[in-house]
Amino acid sequence: MLEITLRTLAVCGVALAVALAAGLPLGIALGRRSFPGRGVLVSLVNSGMGAPPVVVGLAVSMLLFRNGPLGFLGLLYTPEAMVAAQVLIALPLVVGITLAAVGALDENWELEVRTLGIPQWLRLWLLLREIRLGLLAAVIAALGSILSEVGAVQAVGGNLAGETRVLTTSILMYTQMGRFEMALALGAVLVGLTLVLAAALTVVQQGGRR
């Protein structure tokens, strides 16, 4: 059980980090600038937020199959594939929530900051502080979706013991085997993990409020 939990944390941690690293800048950029085609991009992001994760899992599997376009990578049924699928699922969430947070900023704020003669890098830092609450909402949402993902992770990971088995796929497996005590125990660990992480993030989010 410890091995499965540690692997869950590792896979989900990496996926969250990548989704945030890619999604936060993208969300901020989409939120601040207007350019031709922005509306289309934002619609895509919003659709992505509602996209069924299991379909993402199916699409990634089909890309990675031995006979598929990316089959030469040999990445199917590996933790790397699981991270990839989870990033694709969480990315629209991060971008969508971030750009909404940026969009909620007072339009004069940017103007005021610029007239004060504040350098570019410091302006970015101030922007991040202003949308702190929204950013953390994006992180919590992404974390939640990544930790709870079953279908896509099962599809691209294969639930291989010792290699790609994580908490969610184990719970599903034990449920289907009728071994409910194991399923419940793993379920308790997963819920506990989610609660602790979400609580910690909430403290950070709300702690900054004056």
Partner: protein
């Protein structure tokens, strides 16, 4: 007639009509193995059963181990499994009303067409496993306490391998036969499968059937009735017409039948007598 009496008469008539209407058959919960579902056999047989009996069948495809547990707990009405030892336990403990083997086929050890461990040349299945273990060849296991998994464990033990400490390259999916075959296909690994699911997935996996059918690979499917509502389904499976259909299933698609029926009436004889309640075999 005074209004009050004609209203109550109408109610009585309506009630009578409802009660007298042909009773719809009760729904049936069938717990079975993924290997039976993945071959498509149930999809082929169930429509006629549902039409003839009026019963609607809810199919739960889990491993034989889970299906037998469901039966023991009374959570299913009828079981179709292929784990004779586990089935016998239920019969001995009188948790099922009957057990009737109704079809069989063989397990097959499949693997990469190149067959690096030399399985095709092995004189027996147990020797084949010994060679695979010795070569530390990649192997994909169900690991889900299913009938197939139980047979795999038994064969491994007979080959001198401790199932709890197999060789490096041995992976376990904890999933059904179809999924396990797909993983084996991806890894081009050896795998134990029932011949039915293997053939159904052959094109997708690119694996070759390597072992010769021998006694240790015999795979017998039985129907176990847990609750009386399941009797009709058991009778249906043993019925001559269904047995013939089972014997033909898969022939046009795969060139060979996936299952061998066990209760075919001999040509020229009359139809099989109705199966009695059997509690042992």
């Amino acid at each position: 007639m005074p209004p009050m009496r004609s209203r109550s008469l109408l109610l009585v008539l309506a009630g009578g009509l409802l009660l007298g209407a042909p009773a719809r058959g009760e729904d049936l919960l069938l717990a079975t193995t993924t290997s039976v579902r993945d071959t498509g056999l149930l999809d082929a047989l169930l429509p006629r059963f549902e039409q003839e009996s009026g019963q609607k069948v809810k199919v739960l495809a889990v491993g034989s181990g889970a299906a037998l547990r469901m039966g023991a707990d009374g959570n299913a009405d009828v079981l179709v499994t292929h784990a004779p030892e586990g089935e016998q336990v239920l019969v001995r403990e009188k948790r099922v009303l009957s057990r009737e083997p109704f079809m069989e086929n063989h397990f097959v050890i499949a693997g990469p067409p190149g067959d690096p461990a030399g399985v095709a040349k092995a004189p027996s299945a147990i020797e084949a496993l010994r060679r695979i273990a010795a070569a530390k060849a990649p192997w994909v296991s169900r690991g889900d306490d299913s009938g197939t998994h139980q047979r795999e464990q038994a064969l491994l033990r007979a080959a001198g391998v401790d199932p709890a400490k197999p060789w490096p390259g041995f992976v376990s999916t904890g999933s059904g036969m179809g999924q396990t075959l797909l993983v084996a296909g991806e890894k081009q690994a050896y795998v134990l499968s029932d011949i039915g699911t293997f053939l159904a997935f052959r094109e997708r996996t690119g694996l070759a059937p390597l072992s010769k059918p021998d006694e240790s690979l015999l795979n017998v499917y039985s129907v176990l009735v847990v609750k009386p509502v399941g009797q009709a389904f058991a009778a249906f499976l043993l019925d001559p017409r269904t047995q013939r259909e089972i014997g033909d299933f898969g022939r046009d698609r795969y060139g060979e039948a996936l299952f061998r029926p066990l209760h075919l009436p001999a040509p020229g004889t009359s139809a099989e007598p109705a199966p009695g309640v059997r509690t042992g075999d």
